[in-house]
Amino acid sequence: MEVFVTFLLNLIYISATLALIALGLAMVFGLLGVMNMAHGEFVMLGAYSVYVVQLAGQHFLWAIPVAIVICVMVGWLMEWLVVRHLYSRPFDTLLATWGVAILIRKGVEVIFTRDYKSVNQVMPGTIDLLGVSYPAYRLLLVALIIVLFVALFTWYQKSKAGLKIRAMVQGPELAAAVGIDTARLSRLTFIIGVSTAGLAGVLLAPLVRVEPYIGLDYLMSSFFILIVGGLGTLEGLLIGSTVIGGTDAIVSTVFDKTAGYMSVLLISILFLWLRPDGIFYRR
């Protein structure tokens, strides 16, 4: 029983965090068709924001505005200098953003060196839940992510900006014709996308290691989720993260972690091959 509850909580936690990490990439890829290889680097920037805020002796929550300011700035620069020139060239976007990823990584290395930076726990200790003691901050994080997703879903469905974005996705020419500034909207989408990645970095920082090269891990996980869950819908994102997180958790529990990792890779390959609509669900 205890084992099962722990497993279940782990599954919820991993699915929620994976969805949070992949959210930005899903937005940018799903809405703009841009495979942003620097996605993980924005998560990394978010995590370093926490480190900086902590170094300055400020409260953890200050890291959120700091991360958003940094991500908006870097994202805006990146969109303006690189991405906007490549919107209809998927391979080139992929390659150019890969180059940008290296630049961001190296930039952080120049400032902070390669050292591991330790971020203090925000809510240390565990909470007893259904007879299992589970890390308190993880539970808080899961709750936060659920709230965030509900809010985002409502915004996308109900707000004017959400409507415009949906219009742009379904027909860029038409959207432009009815007076939507698609260039501006694309930039906005890109910046919001990378900022959510930064936010994910802030929220995860107390739990993970912080060093300049963590971005790659997050890019890969996000990647697998998009492949399985498909794009265009938040539901798909949640399904994708549950499938990926679940497969990994189950196989790792039954066999070992290597098998878990390989099964995630295999599932991704199978989805890419057999259900590519999962990934590119655009009308």
Binding site: P90, L94, K106, W273, I279
Partner: protein, 580 residues
């Protein structure tokens, strides 16, 4: 004018001379980068020529290296070594081929899916190489690999690597020039068009990918004796990404590009990284700029410069067209049947129980107001759209779920409304591709013979459209009207029994329209083909049609001769009242 053969000979001589004029370790270093460059040449074939980007090419390189390493550990004889090299080429080549067939066969195009699959496979390979210690030696690597028998890895092995480079360059250069290579470039330019012409594009892509895998394996075969150790990094994602970067920076459109890229970045990195630990920043910056502004990479710049100083790099010789080929005889009477065909997309009914039959040769015009479903009827016929219910048959053969390229085998050819050609290829190449339809077989696809094929119809078309004679002009440089004519010429050169033309005169000037109409009329008279033309322009219909079908709201409203149609009260009502 400097000859390009001279330049190539000079380059080769320089490569051979490296160990003598510099040190042996420089040559050793160069050898490694050349091996990476060879892998990049395979990427050129896929990415530069075929338009699909493989992102896990290190996988095939690594498989080759592990195979050759395993064999070389046992200190084998030359015979066994040759066998090992062969295996190092064939095994990765076959694996790539199988992946290609499976992936491309699924109609998912050559977009990001393919790239992502190869990337994931490379990750998988890395994990396997790490954990299957019994096979690969694990993370610490497969060690104790001896050099080729009697060959000093730090000395004469270099010349073998140069040999491999020459082989791969010549082989790929030849391949690119064959009809196979030209079709591969056509895939990059316009895959859909090629499919409507009847070419199985997924097979071409799979073959190109297999070859790129084999080439990577060849480089891997020499990597093992060169290094004496093979570690999992050689199959990994980082090397895969680097290979793409080297190819992109060096230039992805030619075989020299990846070698230039790998060698240049290799030496730059090894020179800089011990003093300047942020050398990667420089490489990344250059790479981003190249992606943004210089798709041809360094080789592209060099070629542009060479052209400026009057050097011709392209040693193209046009072959005489001295082998007459005949159109396949039209043996049967046409019989196209639409039976209760319905198509609905979302809430919109597009075809509503559409039924008609065409059993006579000649020109059939399909008319009707906007939104009547004319183009959609052609789309379900050629499999571009899947209809929800009903049956479509051609000469008794059901056409459901058939891939577009198979249609051509049945004698159905189609020209889309927007002129659809291969813009980066010349007029001659566009025409050739059409001439080859249904005639390229395994036996001649890799020979130069198809370039000599000729068809009387081609002369006739050149008389009708004189601009076609200027064969070395890039098709992308033609006017819209000329593109329509080229597209039309390609469609009919493919010699279908049933020719589907979607508004062939759209976007043409008055004079061009006249040219086009007379060409179609001329062809209809001289060939035995059946034409179905979707048309708006009643003048065109008047001049061309033997038989008219009128569609309205997804149904067939009337059919008959133009006079009969004109007399039909229902048709009059629809046209008078607009599209009600």
């Amino acid at each position: 004018m400097v000859s390009s053969i001279g330049v190539k000979a000079l380059l080769l001589a320089a490569l051979v001379a490296v160990p003598f004029i510099t040190s042996s370790y420089t040559a050793y270093q160069l050898g490694l980068y050349i091996l990476f460059g060879i892998v990049g040449q395979g990427i050129v074939l896929c990415w530069g020529k075929g338009g699909f980007l493989p992102m896990g090419q290190a996988l095939f390189f690594g498989i080759g290296a592990y195979i050759s390493g395993t064999v070389l550990k046992s200190d084998p004889s030359w015979g066994v070594v040759l066998l090992a090299v062969l295996l190092s080429v064939l095994v990765p080549g076959m694996i790539a081929g199988i992946i290609g067939v499976l992936v491309f066969g699924r109609k998912i195009g050559s977009g990001l899916y393919f790239s992502l699959i190869t990337l994931a496979l490379s990750l998988l390979g890395y994990q396997l190489a790490n954990s299957q210690v019994w096979l690969t030696g694990g993370f610490n690597g497969m060690t104790g690999i001896k050099g080729l028998p009697g060959i000093d890895s730090f000395g004469s092995l270099y010349f073998f690597i140069i040999g491999a480079l020459v082989f791969s360059t010549c082989f790929l250069a030849y391949l690119i020039r064959t009809p196979f290579g030209q079709n591969l470039e056509a895939v990059r330019e316009n895959e859909e068009r090629l499919q409507f012409l009847g070419v199985n594009t997924s097979r071409i892509k799979a073959a190109a990918f297999a070859i790129s895998g084999g080439v990577a394996g060849l480089a891997g075969a020499f990597f093992a004796p060169h290094q004496g150790i093979v570690t999992p990094q050689v199959v990994g994602f980082i090397l895969s990404a680097e290979l793409v970067i080297w190819t992109g920076v060096g230039g992805r459109f030619g075989l020299a590009g990846p070698v230039i890229g790998a060698v240049l970045i290799g030496f730059l990195a090894s020179g800089l990284r011990d003093y300047f630990s942020f050398w990667e920043v420089v490489v990344a910056l250059v790479f981003v700029i190249i992606v943004l502004r210089l798709p041809g990479g360094i080789a592209g710049l060099a070629a542009a410069y060479a052209k400026k100083i009057g050097m011709s790099l392209d040693t193209f010789r046009s072959s005489p067209r001295d082998e007459q080929i005949l159109s396949s005889p039209t043996n049967s009477q046409p019989r196209l049947e639409f039976k209760n065909v319905s198509l609905q997309i979302g809430p919109v009914v597009i075809l509503d129980d559409l039924s008609f039959e065409i059993v006579d040769r000649g020109i059939h015009c399909l008319i009707g107001p906007n939104g009547a479903g004319k183009t959609s009827a052609l789309n379900v016929l050629t499999g571009k759209l899947a209809h929800n219910s009903g049956k479509i048959t051609w000469c008794g053969q059901p056409l459901e779920g058939m891939q577009p390229f198979r249609m051509s085998g049945l004698g159905i050819g189609r020209k889309l409304q927007v002129p659809s050609i291969f813009p980066e290829l010349t007029i001659r190449q566009n025409i050739d591709i059409a001439l080859w339809v249904n005639r390229l077989k395994f036996g001649n696809v890799l020979s130069m013979r198809p370039y000599r094929w000729h068809k009387a119809l081609k002369d006739r078309l050149e008389r009708a459209f004189p601009f076609l004679i200027d064969a070395e002009v890039l098709a992308g440089k033609l006017s819209v009207g000329q593109r329509q004519m080229l597209d039309f010429s390609m469609t009919v050169l493919a010699a279908p029994d049933l020719i589907l033309l979607d508004e062939p005169c759209a976007g043409l000037s008055k004079a061009e329209t006249e040219t086009m109409i007379s060409a179609i009329a001329d062809l209809a008279k001289s060939s035995k083909a059946t034409f179905i033309i979707v048309e708006h322009d009643m003048q065109v219909v008047e001049l061309l049609s033997d038989h008219v079908l009128v569609m309205h709201q997804g149904r067939l409203l009337a059919q008959g001769s133009l006079e009969q149609i004109r007399a039909n009260p229902e048709v009059r009502r629809v046209y008078a009242g607009g599209s009600k």
